[in-house]
Amino acid sequence: MRGHGAWLWLPPLAAVAAYAPAQAVVYLTVEQAQKEMFGDEALTSLPLVLSAAQIAAIERDSGVKVASPIVRVWKAPSGYFFADAVIGKHDLIEYAVGLDANGRVRGVEILEYREAYGGEVRNAAWRAQFDGKRHGDALRLGEDIQGISGATLSCQHLTDGIRRLLATYAVAIAPR
């Protein structure tokens, strides 16, 4: 590429960029993620607000702070579906976790991602490392879950979030 010809790249780039709408990029909606994990099963939302005692138990169990007492969880005939959010480096990553009737992870899906770095967590093989895990299983990044170079924080915080959800299931849902 010689001389000024190089600048010819710029207008199409700018046009593409200007076209984008203002909402966050949604990789999957909650409904799509539910369909992905539970097919045509009917899911009913399960209103759940954690008590102070439950929060304390979840934090003790998972070693992760509970930011909100409100849990977004749905019950399906064959399991449970959680929608949750964690901070990647600076911004929220929205994700979903499906559990089977025994509380084992059926799937993890990234719903929304906002940051410039760390989007590698969308990789299916990385997420598949959580499949089959249940409350009580070791879930530590770098030991039980392999991280992704360059996306360490996103991997770390998602791993923590999933550990927290498994503890939430054990403390507040499974005993019901």
Binding site: M1, A6, D91, R114, R122, A124, Q129, G142, I148, G150
Partner: protein
């Protein structure tokens, strides 16, 4: 509610039972008919009441559903509200971070050159303009004090806007880090082993390497990350062909040996007549593995713009791999650069003490292992072998002249680095290493450092 329904059901079945028995006992016709009529009436009444109850039950069910929906709605609202609060005010849209390192270098054979240095103090500011657009910037002071009389520098290391236009990609524009090697984009001291960054990713890939321009980047679900764009490039007119004294005399100054460190522009009134192109690919579809490669090519101008010399094209490519099985961490990087059409320049400057190299390369292999871990604290000894040559070939050298004058350090070496990183937590690291240089044996040194990142 269900309790009442159950008792009605009991009464009802008892009555039906009675009616059945009445049939069996076959009483006189008249009284039997009367009883049958009365029973029919009772059954009718009961069935009406049952219908009423059913309706009532339906209503309560509906109410329950509405309540649940309301509760769910409230939960979602509360969450949205907290999200709005998180991303609402200007302070919440702002993110701040920082990193830095304080180092100590002790050349084993030249203790008089021992140095302590606040090598870098960097602060980052980010701002989110909306759900899709984010600004990132970093400001760096190198060597503590930046003034006319001091060795330090103040630099804007990054200053760019990233806009995600679709799930599959984003566009970035401004001054951004080039996606080359393992550490250029992730260069915080907690991200690498050893007190100073490795030589391959300092001399061949001139980290912290950034250019001004635009780029497109994204990641696929299958694990392929891609990044390509148009940027400013290098400027050979900044190259010093004939320094009277060596540009570097110890390991901590080796950066000066790099032709790319000498000619990078850092978007400081950068010559932008010619733009360069880059493409970087990374595959992380196997958990624990990372493979990647990148190439950059662009016209780097000429050493003397007034002279009738051909422009040189600079091409740099690299390949890298990292494997982290459990507690171990293996890494390898190979990088090679070429400068075209250097013969005329070198021929015009016979006997130059620092002629233009036609090619340069370097590679390293590194292994580390967490020998001890407790919660977030860990100790990771490591070993690295690297080889670099910033003057692998020269074109147009006048007969009888060497590329490197006698008494100057050699521009190539093989280096063993043994050391350890002690992570107090993921954000604070203490480091120690010993670096042994095979050719420039004088450079062999012992280093200590503390680094942080938040």
């Amino acid at each position: 509610m269900t309790h009442r329904l159950a008792s009605f059901a009991l009464v009802f079945s008892a009555l039906v039972g009675c009616a059945a028995r009445a049939d069996e006992s076959a009483p006189p016709a008249a009284s039997a008919e009367a009883r049958a009529q009365s029973l029919e009436r009772k059954i009718e009444t009961l069935s009406r009441e049952l219908d009423a109850l059913k309706n009532e039950l339906k209503q309560v069910e509906n109410q329950n559903e509405a309540l649940a929906a309301q509760q769910q709605q409230q939960a979602v609202l509360a969450q949205q509200q907290s999200a709005v609060q998180n991303g609402g005010g200007p302070w919440d849209r702002l993110s701040l971070w920082g990193y830095g390192e304080v180092n100590y270098y002790h050349p084993q054979h030249r203790p008089e050159d021992t140095q302590a240095d606040l090598a870098r103090a960097v602060f980052g500011i980010g701002y989110r303009f909306g759900e899709r657009t984010v600004f990132n910037s970093e400001y760096e002071v190198e060597h503590a004090v930046s003034s006319a009389d001091d060795p330090g520098e103040f630099e804007v290391e990054q200053f760019w806007v990233d806009h995600r236009f679709a799930g599959w990609g984003a566009v970035k524009a401004g001054l951004f880090l080039m996606p080359f090697g393992l550490l250029n984009e992730h260069h915080e001291p907690t991200n690498y082993y050893g007190v100073q960054r490795n030589f391959v990713e300092t001399l061949i890939i001139p980290s912290t390497w950034r250019e001004g321009g635009v780029g497109l980047h994204g990641d696929t679900v299958s694990g392929l990350g891609w990044d390509l764009g148009l940027t400013t490039g290098f400027d050979l007119s900044k190259y010093e062909l004939n320094p009277e004294t060596p540009l570097y005399g110890r390991a901590s100054e080796l950066k000066e040996a790099s032709p790319l460190q000498a000619t990078h522009q850092e978007l400081a009134l950068a010559n932008a007549q010619h733009l360069a192109q880059y493409l970087a690919l990374n595959y992380h579809g196997l958990p624990g593995f990372l493979f990647g490669a990148a190439v950059f090519t662009g016209n780097a101008g000429r050493v003397d713009r007034s002279a009738h010399l051909p422009d040189s094209r600079l091409t740099l490519w690299e390949a890298h791999a990292r494997w982290r099985p459990g507690r171990a961490d293996f890494a390898a990087v190979f990088a090679r650069g070429t400068l075209g059409d250097t013969a005329a320049t070198n021929a015009l400057n016979p006997g130059a003490s620092n002629p233009l190299p036609g090619s340069f390369f370097g590679y390293y292999l590194q292994g580390a292992y967490d020998v001890w871990r407790r919660d977030q604290t860990r100790l990771a000894p490591f070993l690295r072998w690297e080889r670099y040559n910033v003057g692998a070939s020269y074109a147009g050298l006048a007969a009888g002249f060497a590329a490197v004058p006698a008494g100057f350090p050699q521009p190539y070496d093989r280096v063993w680095t043994y050391g350890m990183n002690f992570y107090l937590n993921p954000h604070v690291v203490f480091k120690a290493d010993y670096q042994s240089f095979q050719n420039n044996a004088d450079f062999t040194r012992f280093d200590l450092g503390v680094g942080l990142n938040f």
